[in-house]
Symmetry: C2
Amino acid sequence: MNQEPSAETVQRGNFHVPGFRVASAMSGMRYRNRPDCALIMSDVAAAAAGVFTQNRFCAAPVVLCKEHLDAAHGRARAVLINAGIANACTGEEGIRRARQSAQRLATLLGIPYREVLVASTGVIGPQLHLEALDHVLPQLIATLHPEGWLDAARAIMTTDTVPKTAWARTQVAGTTITCGGMAKGSGMISPDMATMLAFVVTDAALAPNVLRYWLTESVNRSFNRITVDGDTSTNDTVLVLASGAAGHAIITDSSSPEAENFGALLTRVCLDLAQQIVRDGEGATKFVAVTVRGAKSRQRALAVARTVANSPLVKTALFGQDANWGRVVAAAGRSGVDFDPDRVSLYFDNVCIFKNGQPVADETLEAKASAVLRQKDICMTLELGEGNASETVYTCDFSYDYVKINADYRS
Amino acid sequence: MNQEPSAETVQRGNFHVPGFRVASAMSGMRYRNRPDCALIMSDVAAAAAGVFTQNRFCAAPVVLCKEHLDAAHGRARAVLINAGIANACTGEEGIRRARQSAQRLATLLGIPYREVLVASTGVIGPQLHLEALDHVLPQLIATLHPEGWLDAARAIMTTDTVPKTAWARTQVAGTTITCGGMAKGSGMISPDMATMLAFVVTDAALAPNVLRYWLTESVNRSFNRITVDGDTSTNDTVLVLASGAAGHAIITDSSSPEAENFGALLTRVCLDLAQQIVRDGEGATKFVAVTVRGAKSRQRALAVARTVANSPLVKTALFGQDANWGRVVAAAGRSGVDFDPDRVSLYFDNVCIFKNGQPVADETLEAKASAVLRQKDICMTLELGEGNASETVYTCDFSYDYVKINADYRS
């Protein structure tokens, strides 16, 4: 916290955002000997917004968050998070337990029930253990701390191997504002949200509708542009709370320069968290940015990029450090986008290995491309040659460990 | 060949179909010390039809086949197949080489150029070695044999571990007809065709349009219902040739009882070949039929079945012998089909582990389901509870070996 970052720099590690405190604790609900619960608390009824899974099986905490954000007109005071049990596919009883946990927290904190949000991640099916939560709530409340974020980021991990935090600052209307957050997720990650939770807070002062607008924009440029395995979950949630503690005039117009400025800050923090999730992809050894450019539309670019980024054959080739452009173009070819194959070119970083529908004749290029593939970070760029639109999707490789982690997860 | 199968029984192993001879040989084009080329020859200009990849990158042999089937009005005499080099993404030179190989074979056989079809499978990018083919063509022609199918099935293998043949007989208009074929493919397999070649011949007498109609029907019920990894290829081809050697009156009406009878025979052979491909899926240890029933439409059933059958998390759970119904329903939930989650039930074989949107409370059921998961063959049935339509997709699990095979393929 001693180093003041430039407006553009996203930092990781611990942080604090004025107006918020956070705590973590061990409930023993499923994991032993590790914190598995976190509580985020705002000093005031913060502006709040959420983006949730599109999966037809939508977990109980997601149902509750949507109801509460609506009932409280985009305001929230507290977010309770547990890892280990997802409270998904748990029927009416699951909803009842989600409500009950929120109710108990509201009572203990003396705040309105509808200003409590909840999020769960873990195994689908089992019910929440309310007694375990009961036991841990007072402890969470007693240990709330402005700089508890890194511990909280650890408490919400499931198959994650590292805690994920990001924060940055910018100037809005002459005032410095801070935006910081934590995320978890490493498998079941795909565009349209995944087994992924992210919680971002800011001391900026925004009307709830402005916050909602910029959260949607930011998620579309970050969490909806990553993929680990194409699978999405029942619980995906991104929540953002704005305390207003920075003290500048409240931003009420989504298209004002101040709102744009805040939106850019939020997007940077979300993108950094999203990229950390991909880097921590189950078994991942590579971080790959798949860019499709020269498309007629962003939709077409995105459809091609997602198909390539999700292809098991592309992802196993990346693990094998194989500059297998054939698999990349074959994946692009089945994306459903009717591009002209004879105008397609492919680059690994800046090595053009495939040009206008054919491999480049220079045989030294494959060695150069293979050198790129040995890097941990790789940029793969597919040029469609039909327009000016581009999109980027972030992915990782498919390794032995991906299979091992996911074949053994419940045993 | 000594055992006469019943009309309904599909046999594997070697076979012969009157009117056809087949040969295999070693070109050395890419593989060493193994046959890598095959030739199928019809005694007469057979009725012929093909179904090809939908990939935008369409290999040179696919382009040639489409042209020739059109130019020869659905007639063909010979099919030349090579394994190791796919002749895909090879530009004008690739097309030229495909044409040249067909031309040389036509000249050697003294048959019209347009009655030669070609198919290739293997690595994308390199050009065909015409000298190697030149060398091997006379040898192929000299060794044509009515019972060369099993050897030919071996010659067209790439990452396949077993040769794949299937044949069966039925009665058409009082005459026994035979239908037999061979296929290759074990990765890059997905609905809408994949790195998969299949060649089926019959002595039935059919007009080309009847053959074309029933090939499309059969492929939709077989090769388009399998998936190994969701990836599709540049070269996928299913060709069928009908010699008419059985001698019955030619079938000219696609909806006649004789045509239906032939169509059922062709479908049985194609489905058996398709299932052999899944069973030989790269690294596969399980064969899984994913059935979605109780859907409002077959399209909806198919969309859900394909999403489940392609889910890496479902496939790794199958490898782990884990009755992880949560992953199955979460995959169904992201299929884009707006079913009612509270009406969904899931069975592993006949064990109902998830009913009306929730896990079944009986805790002994998970053990029973786990016992099913230890089988090599598994039926997974998802009931949507919204209608009467159903569809089945065949898939396999995702193992360490899938990653190993695909990370190492070119090295």
